[in-house]
């Protein structure tokens, strides 16, 4: 049995890759295991300039899940290219850069910046971050905006573009079709569902941003349903995520 998986722009030794934001830029986890064992690495979101992100607390635990509202904190695309990506060069594992922004212009700016790096192999267009005031999830829940940003990024990019879909929509297939029509080479599904948890002692949301993105096994049934629906409707590569912890979980996404 071979686990080799071929996707636009990517040849993966195996189909296992850490989702964006769960892995930083790879340095820390390289202490735990050999990054060469991963199918690919999706790095933390990059925006045009450095971002501080939201106030803390930024995470909370829920039943079989967690909420996070990091708010796209990152050192900005130039710093990522110059200071973070070189660390990953020695590894054989392909790198997927996660592109974020508040405006179409910012998305395009980040995309173009990555064109100058040879340390990545594909872009993941993050139109689905629920934790920033502007941009982020709006792009992921409004079909026209999603189309526009996908089209512009695809035009600007020398790398294949995977569009990361938000599950916070009434009809995921409509959204998947829209970004596919706009030129997406692939999809990645799903980002987090917007949720909230209350601190009972203080009677206010635990997360400073109030709402956060729900991830983990709790949302796996929703991820599987959405991937299934899109698979029935469209013939486009899908990178699946959402609550994957065990090998069985991986199989369930096929």
């Amino acid at each position: 049995m071979t686990l080799t998986t071929t996707l636009p722009g990517l040849t993966l030794k195996n189909p296992v890759m850490p989702a964006s934001g769960c892995f930083g830029f790879g340095k820390e986890y390289s202490q735990f295991y050999d990054l060469n064992e991963l199918g690919a690495i999706i790095i933390k979101a990059a925006t045009g300039e450095a971002r501080y992100g939201n106030a803390t607390p930024r995470v909370a635990e829920t039943a079989s899940g967690m909420l996070n509202a990091i708010g796209l904190q990152n050192p900005g695309v130039e710093a990522i290219i110059n200071e973070e990506l070189p660390f990953l060069r020695p590894f054989e594992t392909p790198v997927i850069a996660n592109v974020a922004g508040s405006t179409v212009e910012e998305y395009v700016k980040v995309t173009k910046a990555f064109n100058h790096s040879n340390d990545i192999h594909a872009l993941e267009l993050n139109i689905s971050c629920p934790n920033v005031k502007e941009g982020g999830v709006q792009f992921g829940t409004d079909t026209e905006l999603a189309k526009e940003v996908t089209y512009q990024v695809k035009q600007a990019s020398k790398y294949p573009v995977y569009v990361k879909l938000s599950p916070n929509v009434s009809d995921i297939v409509v959204m998947a079709k829209a970004v596919t029509d706009a030129g997406a080479d692939g999809l990645s599904m799903i980002n987090t569902l917007t949720g909230m948890q209350i601190n009972l002692k203080q009677r206010r949301p635990i997360i400073a941003n109030k709402t956060g993105g729900l991830s983990g096994p709790a949302i796996k049934p929703i991820a599987i349903r959405m991937i299934y629906q899109v698979r029935q409707a469209l013939d486009i590569p899908i990178i699946g995520m959402g609550g994957i912890i065990t090998a069985e979980d991986v199989v369930e996404f096929y």
Binding site: G21, C22, F23, G24, F25, K27, E28, Y29, Q31, F32, K44, A50, Y52, G53, A55, T56, P57, R58, V59, A60, E61, T62, S64, G65, M66, N68, I70, Q73, N74, I206, G216, P217
Partner: protein, 255 residues
């Protein structure tokens, strides 16, 4: 180097109300420094729980953690058993009190409650070994919460305050610090944010180190869950799990 290990539980003791002292075995014990923590995974919980190193026995390759039941995770931890059970933990995590780099004759230790007292005990032990004179001020909510006073006494002058006055002085650690007439080189504080704010204000002219708490995701610096803004440029931050939990007192803006 940080790694993920299954730690054997050597002993498991209730030492105060809802407060437990657990001794764990690890070949990495000798690498654990005062102020560092371990990040513990618990079945049926998505997030690990950070708990400070409260002491180390290099010879036995063991170290101690002390924790209090706060919610579901610490409750599960309190139900672990010595003998059979193993703890899945990442260690060593975070920064430590840089005592080897400091010119130190007399240290003031200020600890508040369950978050503050355990890591400072390991620190006090380490200072004592270096021949540093220690004055400790420990704050607790109420008498039944008090622990480790005797252990600190063995290492130097120790004062205890309880908020409700059921034990030691009534009031806060800052009330005791006001009364102290000793000269200190550095202070080392750990505890609730409100206490850290009061102490850093009170000891503004002193050099000191503080240890922070925040809700954590990864515990190793990848997820940006646990940042704290920097005084010199609040648009910049450090990560409490990796750059902290120990910071130079004037380095960070307390939330």
């Amino acid at each position: 180097m940080i790694s993920k290990q299954l730690l054997k539980i050597k002993s498991h003791l209730c030492i105060a109300q809802d407060t437990f002292e657990v001794v764990l075995h690890s070949p990495l014990a000798r690498e654990l420094k005062p102020g560092q923590f371990i990040h513990i995974a618990l079945k049926h919980h998505m997030l690990r729980r950070p708990v400070s190193v409260a002491n180390v026995d290099v010879g036995a390759e063991t170290f101690t953690i002390v924790f209090k039941i706060f919610g579901e995770g610490t409750r599960a931890l309190s139900n672990c058993k010595a003998g059979g059970d193993f703890l899945d933990a990442i260690l060593p995590c975070g920064s430590y009190y840089p005592i080897d780099r400091l010119q130190l004759d007399h240290a003031l230790i200020v600890g508040g409650g369950i978050g503050g007292v355990p890591p400072l005990y390991y620190l006090a032990q380490s200072l004592k070994k270096k021949g540093v004179q220690i004055t400790s001020v420990l704050g607790f909510q109420t008498k039944s919460h008090v622990f480790y006073e005797d252990k600190f006494q063995l290492l130097g002058d120790t004062y205890v305050a309880t908020n409700d006055g059921t034990y030691g002085a009534k009031g806060f650690v800052t009330d005791i610090i006001t009364e102290l007439s000793t000269d200190i080189d550095y202070y080392f504080a750990c505890g609730p944010t409100a206490m850290l704010k009061a102490v850093t204000d009170q000891l503004e002219t002193q050099e000191g180190y503080i240890s922070l708490e925040e809700r954590m995701g990864c515990g190793v610096g990848t997820c940006y869950a646990c940042v704290v803004p920097l005084k010199e440029d609040p648009s910049k931050s450090k990560k409490i799990c990796k750059d902290g939990p120990v910071f130079y007192a004037n380095e960070v803006i307390l939330p």
